[in-house]
Symmetry: C2
Subunit: 191 residues, 2 copies
């Protein structure tokens, strides 16, 4: 694997565990077996590395939703929702893991501008996608709920982000599953 990729992978895992100001180039160097000075060749400053990590994460997560074409794939809205939630369930079941951007939300105000922009973009993108799904799903008669789709999407996405942080402190491996089950019930799932 390319060194740049190894660095990204290592940095992503370290940020999830310790936050941005909680990991160092030395940590990465130790993990992948190079010297910390070598990291600067690929990412001149720590802010550059941070931005690249979030950018990749953001793209990866956006593709989950964007790759779902309801008509072409013959999916109903419930199936699309389940596929969208799949990576989140995985994070929820893996001890110690959380959403990268949720973690970085804690230190948001002291992060470099480029990183802030990526994080804000991620949240905005995710909420917009979920809003659209809820909206069209309700119009199609699949989901049933009161109020605006946007508000419901904000509540549900907030619950996911918050839940992924809280579950790490409880050690309850099913914390997220329960939240998602409840969320699906709110959309008219199995009442």
């Amino acid at each position: 694997m390319e060194t740049a990729q190894k660095i990204l992978n290592s940095a992503e895992a370290l940020i999830q565990k310790h936050g941005f100001s909680g990991f160092s180039f030395q940590d990465i160097a130790d993990e992948i077996g190079i010297r910390k000075a070598s990291i600067h060749y690929h990412y001149p400053a720590k802010a550059d590395l941070g931005r690249a990590v979030i950018q990749r994460y953001r793209t990866r997560m956006a593709e989950v939703g964007n790759s779902l074409d309801l008509k072409e794939d013959g999916l109903n809205h419930w199936q699309a929702l389940a596929l969208y939630l799949e990576p989140i369930v995985q994070l929820g079941r893996t001890p110690g893991h959380a959403c990268l951007c949720g973690v970085l939300g804690g230190e948001y105000l002291s992060l470099p501008d480029a990183m802030q922009a990526e994080i804000a973009g991620y949240f905005d993108e995710q909420i917009t996608w979920l809003t659209d799904l809820l909206d069209s799903g309700r119009a199609a008669g699949a989901f049933r709920f009161h109020g605006s789709a946007g508000e419901m999407a904000r509540l549900l996405f907030g619950a996911i982000e918050g839940g992924l942080l809280i579950k790490r402190t409880t050690g309850d491996i099913e914390f997220i599953d329960r939240i998602l089950t409840t969320a699906q019930a709110l959309l008219g799932g199995e009442p």
Copy 2:
């Protein structure tokens, strides 16, 4: 004011902005006008200060709910819920602010044990309290919702914690208000 109190106040604000590993004794010293060495007299190590900050926050927030005696104060469940949510609404409307424990959830895995215990205790306490309110409120006919009160409390509290983090990145001052309005509708508020 006592120096120890000034230190706590400063530390709490700094943690909310920059996270635990993102602030230093120097930051506090600058804010309250003493030398950083003096801080060690009140809190020997940074971990001691961190634990004290969370402990105070946890107690303060627990008292919000525990001070509400429905029978004695002649409150109905909706009023109790509104009073419980009041401090959260305040956080939501103050730019840059978030829940202290939500912020620290991002760096949870690298925090000292004593701090982890306080954070986990805070989440547990809050969810338990909310669960009880939802449970008794439904029994009293005030709230209407399907499923277990505990699951609903986890979803709602997760949405609060996640929402308080996300709203800092959007600058939307009404982000939390909208989530709470939606949450109240889910409990059978104004359908």
